[in-house]
């Protein structure tokens, strides 16, 4: 039991209904479009991997070839399947032939289309079976090596070198971290392809590649077996390749994915239509793979004022929840991000943070809440920073957060050192031990500051969602209602990769996964 806070359920219901309407309008658009990266995702699930002689990934070669033929709106599955039938090759061989210029996917006789669809459907069945097998593996791991009580301790590694990351991650896991995220190199989100193989040279993070996923998965499994605690692996389904990264995660048993419906639009200036369409398939895949997504609302507080705009975090969480539900993610798979963010100079700042954290818990009782640490007001004073993290951990355990991302005392200086992560884990374990039952012992005064702040945030979120509902989400983004950032509907990166689906659009990966996601409404929680 955690710190309970009374919420006006009518207001919560009103917010949820508004979020439902807001996302329905966007979903209509999503269901009529596809993108380059969505079709590359299909190619990846069909087994197309590797690069051409110049390092261009074959999924890109294949989809660019289809895009140029003007037939992307029919779906890569059909065109790849058709070519496989016509040329009597497997998917990888087709891709290699395209890269040599020996095959043009747009120029295959129409009589091979029925057979092509059959072949593609079969490949999709195999691919989803592999994703399911990975999911069962995770469930078996969790049975053998269960997690400790919440909150799970989440740390990041970000050396730029996957082998160095392994050293750092294994050390953190042995010290008590439950979740390891490999931060991506600055700027990967803006690449319209996923790099291949082992790649060095990242800064502020490490390139996300399927080979890197494999290397880190193996390393963490080793520590899971050693410690008897399953160590979860996280990467980033964000940027211009959201669904492709989801596919790679599904195939390599990643457990969590940073995966926000609007983050790319706001913080990476990615075209909003591209992001909306991409996030959908990425979430369908994550839902199917049993992955917990992490939304990115905490980022709002890095650009707008936490006291004034706390309600925008809650409003965005409702929207993320609604989008996630439409992709088939179950509440336990919806990891809503929020943050311990008040200015340390603000009197009663801890009360504001407790109010928002307890409110989030009360509004989303079944979601997996991910509580982020202070970063905004960290300056390089490692001692003050360590003190701030104590209060972050205290708020997290008191308000029943499921995941706590550990603050680093060296935030704002460098990516964490080995010892920084140890100190963060030690800090969290101390607070969790010392204050484990604090939340269930305390009662929030209904007429006090915490309750008043929670009401203010909820009312603000409801008012904002009403406003977004009236304007439409796209217009709201243009007006800068989220994070104070304005984005125009036709601007931003990657808009040229959005294509209207044709009536015969065929995507057996999406169809299969979405069908099963819907069936599994109440099932599947391995925890």
């Amino acid at each position: 039991m955690s710190l309970q806070i009374e919420v006006d359920q009518k207001q919560v219901q009103r917010a949820r209904q508004a979020a439902g309407r807001i996302t329905r309008e966007i979903q209509d658009y999503i269901d009529r479009h596809t993108t380059d990266t969505i079709e590359r995702t299909v190619a990846r699930f069909f087994g197309i991997d590797g690069t051409d002689g110049e390092g261009v990934p074959l999924p890109n070669i294949v989809v660019d070839n289809i895009h140029r033929s003007g037939q992307l709106g029919r779906g890569a599955a059909l065109l790849i399947g058709r070519a496989m039938a016509y040329h009597d090759l497997d998917a990888q061989e087709v891709a290699e032939a395209v890269s040599r210029g020996a095959v043009d996917l747009g120029k295959v006789p129409a009589r091979f289309e029925d057979e092509g669809r059959e072949i593609a459907a079969k490949l999709a069945a195999e691919a989803t079976a592999t994703a399911t097998a990975r999911r069962r593996e995770r469930e078996a791991w969790l049975k053998r090596c269960p997690s400790g009580p919440p909150p799970l301790l989440y740390v990041i590694v970000a050396t730029g070198n996957i082998y160095e990351d392994v050293i750092q991650a294994q050390s953190a896991a042995r010290q008590g971290a439950d979740i390891v995220a490999v931060i991506r190199t600055t700027g990967q989100s803006l690449l319209d392809y996923v790099p291949y193989g082992v790649v060095g040279g990242g800064f502020g993070g490490t390139y996300a590649t399927q080979e890197h996923f494999r290397i880190m998965r193996r390393a963490l499994d080793e520590v899971s077996a050693e410690t008897g605690r399953y160590i979860r692996l996280v990467n980033y389904c964000s940027g211009l390749c959201m669904p492709e990264i989801a596919a790679m995660g599904a195939l390599e048993r990643l457990d969590m994915m940073l995966n926000d419906a609007m983050y790319g639009v706001l913080f990476r200036d990615i075209n909003m239509r591209r992001t909306f369409v991409d996030q959908f398939l990425s979430r369908v895949v994550n839902a199917y793979a049993g992955v917990i997504i992490n939304t990115g609302e905490d980022n709002y507080m890095t650009t707008s004022d936490p006291v004034q705009h706390g309600h925008t975090v809650l409003a965005s969480q409702f929207i993320n929840e609604a989008f996630a539900g439409r992709a088939g993610l179950q509440p336990w798979q919806i990891g809503l991000g929020h943050v311990f963010c008040m200015d340390p100079a603000l009197p009663d700042g801890l009360l504001y943070d407790l109010a928002q954290a307890a409110l989030t818990r009360a509004v989303f009782p079944d979601c997996t809440l991910k509580y982020m640490p202070q970063t905004r007001y960290k300056t390089g004073d490692i001692f003050a920073s360590y003190a701030i993290d104590v209060l972050h951990n205290l708020t997290s355990v008191t308000t029943g957060q499921n995941i706590t991302l550990l603050g680093m005392l060296t935030e704002a200086i460098h990516t964490p050192y080995l010892q920084d992560r140890y100190l963060a884990v030690a800090n969290a374990r101390y607070v969790l031990r010392a204050a484990g039952h604090l939340g269930s012992e305390l009662v929030v005064r209904p007429d006090g500051r915490i309750a008043a702040r929670a009401r203010q945030v909820l009312d603000g979120a409801v008012a904002m969602l009403d406003q977004v509902d009236k304007a439409g989400l796209i217009a709201a983004l243009e007006q800068g209602l989220f994070a104070g950032i304005r984005r125009r509907r036709d601007a931003g990166k990657g808009g040229e990769g959005v294509v209207e689906r044709r009536p015969d659009y065929f995507n057996p990966i999406l169809d299969r996964m979405l069908a099963e996601n819907r069936v599994a409404v109440n099932g599947g929680d391995p925890e």
Binding site: L190, F203, T302, T379, Y417, Q419, Y422
Partner: protein
């Protein structure tokens, strides 16, 4: 004895033969032993030529260090840490904590004393030269001396998505009680936000006929900001626009010295306030006759 533990005499080797106050003038306290140095008095006489760290005994040179070694915790690890710090030149080295991190690593917290000193009189920190004009005076200065609005364009460039510093200077809300450039009636401020390519920034600045360009760089891991800032200067020079504008960069790891070295007019570090940036821009525009 009624004196606190602070009044305990220090070991002889840590005390200095400087002027002392006996404490006899404090009513109700017994006189302290004569060899205790009074920090207040020491402060007044402090040496600007031989400056060294101060722990709890004047001029003790006390330094704290922490690091990780690829060695498991234990007597050998502890001794390794001690020897390492001794090799760094510290005396009186004490390994006060060691913590095994698993996998054959251990963290150490070490104290040592340094004999080294620095001469403050020889230190020169390059700083941009200008007078800080507060809000009203700055607006007045621009009206009187420039006679039109100053156009300022700001951006986080390259892959940097951290706008906190840029926003502190540009946004109306500002920073530490000082409103940002957007709030100045005599400044036309354009905040282009995060991840702006240098090409786009130069094009926009020329389009707006900017008087000043403000570039914020927060992500500086592995010195990624250096090539990015250098490229901007090169592009401006190639366009023949560099001399037409005041070029400024800022960020937690930016110093004026570095900025000047890279070809900027000024660099501003953490804690810089909007009126400082505004004052520099206005006075630099006047000084260089760019108005």
């Amino acid at each position: 004895m009624t004196g606190s533990s602070k009044a305990q005499p220090k070991p002889a080797h840590q005390t200095e033969a400087l002027a002392v106050r006996t404490g006899a003038d404090i009513p109700g306290r017994p006189a302290a032993p004569a060899e205790i140095a009074d920090p207040g008095n020491l402060m007044a006489r402090r040496d600007r030529v031989r400056v060294r760290p101060y722990g709890d005994t004047w001029d003790d040179g006390a330094v704290q260090i922490s690091f990780t070694l690829p060695v498991a915790a234990g007597p050998a690890g502890q001794e390794a840490a001690r020897q390492l710090v001794a090799k760094m030149g510290f005396d009186d080295v004490k390994v006060v904590a060691q913590q095994d991190l698993g996998g054959g690593f251990a963290m150490f917290v070490v104290y040592g004393k340094t004999e080294e000193t620095v001469d403050l009189s020889l230190i020169e920190v390059p700083r941009p030269r200008f007078d800080v004009l507060e809000f009203d005076r700055l607006n007045e200065y621009v009206r009187d001396r420039i006679g039109r609005k100053l156009v300022v364009v700001g951006a986080c460039t390259g892959t940097d998505a951290h706008t906190i510093g840029l926003d502190a200077i540009m946004n109306i809300k500002g920073y530490a009680g000082h409103h940002g450039l957007e709030s100045y009636p005599e400044i036309e401020a354009h905040n282009l936000g995060s991840q702006v390519a240098n090409e786009a920034l130069v094009a926009r600045a020329m389009d707006l006929e900017a008087d000043a360009l403000l570039v914020s760089q927060v992500v500086t891991e592995k010195d990624i900001h250096i090539p990015n800032l250098t490229q901007l200067v090169e592009m401006l020079e190639a366009e023949g626009y560099r001399d037409e504008i005041v070029l400024i960069c800022g960020g937690p790891r930016i110093s004026h010295e570095l900025a000047v070295e890279l070809g900027f007019d000024a660099g501003f570090g953490p804690g810089t306030l909007p009126p400082e940036v505004a004052s520099f821009i206005a006075q630099e525009v006047v000084r260089r006759g760019l108005a």
